[in-house]
Amino acid sequence: MDPTAITLATTFVPFLAFAVALLFFMRQPVVAKAIVLAGGLVSVAGSLVLLAGGPREPVRFLWFSSGDVTLHFGFIYDGLSLAFGAVVALITLCIQTYSVGYMAKDPAQTRFFAMLGLFGWAMLSFVYAVDLLQSFIFWELVGLASFFLIGFWYEKPAAAAAAKKAFIMTRVGDVGLFIGILIILNTVGMFDIPGLLDPETGLRAQVSPGMLTLVMVLVFVGIMGKSAQFPLHTWLPDAMQGPTPVSALLHSATMVAAGVYLFARLNPLFMASEATLLTVLCISTVTALLSSTIAMVERDIKKVLAYSSISQLGFMLMALAAGGFFAGVFHLITHALFKALLFLCAGSYIHHCDSMEIEEIGRRGGRKMRWTTAGLLIGGGALAGIPPLAGFWSKEEIFAALSHNGAMVFVAAAFLAALLTAYYTFRMIFLILLPASEEHHGDAHGHGHDSPAVMLGPMMLLAAGAVLAGFGGGWLARLLDVEREHHTLLAMLPAIGVVALGIAWAWWDFGRRSAARTGLVARVRPLHTLFVNKWYIDAFYAAVVARLTDLLASFFHTVENKGLDDGFDGAARGFVESGWLTARLQSGWVQSYAGTAVVMFALFGIYLGLR
């Protein structure tokens, strides 16, 4: 079959499902669900067929042209898009299936599923886009779907606020990206990604190094917004206000990964700009460390996962910026699998224990949900980087890439971040698995029973992925057409050691029988305060950025009302007043008129006489 038709089906059918479900089946959630799931299935089938077909030439169609701008619409089929497209489609379907169980009692579930369809369309179209502007369009639409999904329970003020925050903060990044894209168009005259990447005729050949750095930094600002990098990361933890499947889909596996994907897409251009790479490396390192520290003290299970997502995204960008293209993409894919799994586990716990607090879940017997707990162990193990789970292999690649190209400080930072990752992951696991105390009150909430099969099935599928994906490295390298070094066991020892240390530390603080279950950080007051308050970044935004915007708006509002409006009103009133001034001559007193007339006649007579 024609790959173009398959891609069109893969990307567009979810949109169709969205439109049909929303327009015609608002009151029949069962039908709507079926339609959206069918759409997801088509996407998976299509993306797998494309993947099986292997890389091939991109296709392009003319979308429109205006003046200097000629915009093409098309699809790119290299290893990157094929692999990531398949992962996105697969995870989307998994999570749609999971949602059938998770959202079963929600009165507005049609809207939920429709929006999942919208998201699938936008995300897949973004992945396969061949044109930078086309990418940008779907990049924005992904953000839109995210807005609706985060704010799905819009009657909760916190959810509405989180949706708005996510949209605005990514918008800030998007402004940078948009400016960058426009500069690219103005200097090179095209948006075509393969064309831009071309070393002979592309962007590198046509602009000065300084300009290239400017453009790539601007593009990276967009990535910072979307992939939640410091300092634009604070929307992601708030976005956990959305339903858990949304967090699993958007805020771990797909949407936030879009930024990393864009980096990988434009990798050769980033590689050409040293200054940008250093910037990226610094920012992503700060992000990876900063968010790990917050995850160490966070009590909400979803927020722990959210901060770990931020940290892992930082990891990927570190790898990419250090020239580890394969390492970054590999981690992108493994992370998508195990983080989606972890979120689904979290959702399963929340569903049954009615709480997002880790300790509360432990107290209410979360560990008795065997399948979910198994998923948590596999996902957590992969996240921490326990061999032979997926996360271990990709993280190992990242260490290798960093030690090849980065300065020692970045390698050390990466090891520290990995240590913290292992620590906070197992803090979570121990708190659920080995709670300090446990409630024993019959089976009122169905505690101990696990989630329905429709939820467990996708979790098991993802768990299998999290176990096995690590061994797909060689295959992925061939697909991406990159050399992959062979790592000896000796080289892997430091990575294993770090993980072991992290787990041991977590065991000391939270696992053993006599542990205080407060953690080391809690005993260092200033640090604890700093971490719990998320390094005061949100507070800074609220106190400075938000207030500054408000001040400016108030200023302009005052200018409008007190300056312009009152000014024009004043001018109008001035005219009226001047009318009154002349009107005062009109005394209405006949004798004064007559007197004036006499005086005027007399003056006129004198004038005539003198002439």
């Binding site: 009107a583 009109q586 005394s587 209405g588 007193w589 006949v590 004798q591 007559a594 006499v598």
Partner: protein, 101 residues
């Protein structure tokens, strides 16, 4: 008596009439003032008629017209005053300022 004496008398009469019209608040007084001014005009006509006119009849006719006119004017003016007084209980011009801007 010379022409100048007549004209000065006319001027005096006219000025008295004008001052009366411009300064008095009672409309009857104003009416008297206008009558004075018309008398001054008549006097001028007669004086010029006596000393300079080619055909002495013209001035006398004009004066007769003025007297007739003044009579008509007085009657109309008084009737207006009657109506005004009936509606406003006053014939003070200071109070009639409805045209004030």
């Amino acid at each position: 008596m010379t022409l100048t004496a007549y004209l000065l008398t006319g001027l005096l009469l006219f000025s008295l009439g004008l001052i009366t019209v411009l300064s008095r608040r009672n409309q009857i007084a104003i009416l008297v003032g206008t009558e004075l001014m018309m008398t001054a005009a008549s006097l001028n006509f007669l004086a010029f008629n006596r000393f300079t006119a080619l055909d002495p009849v013209v001035g006398q006719i004009v004066v007769l017209v003025i007297i007739g006119l003044a009579a008509a004017e007085v009657s109309i003016f008084l009737s207006i005053l009657m109506v005004l007084y009936r509606s406003r209980h006053s014939i003070d011009v200071e109070e009639m300022r409805e045209l004030k801007g």
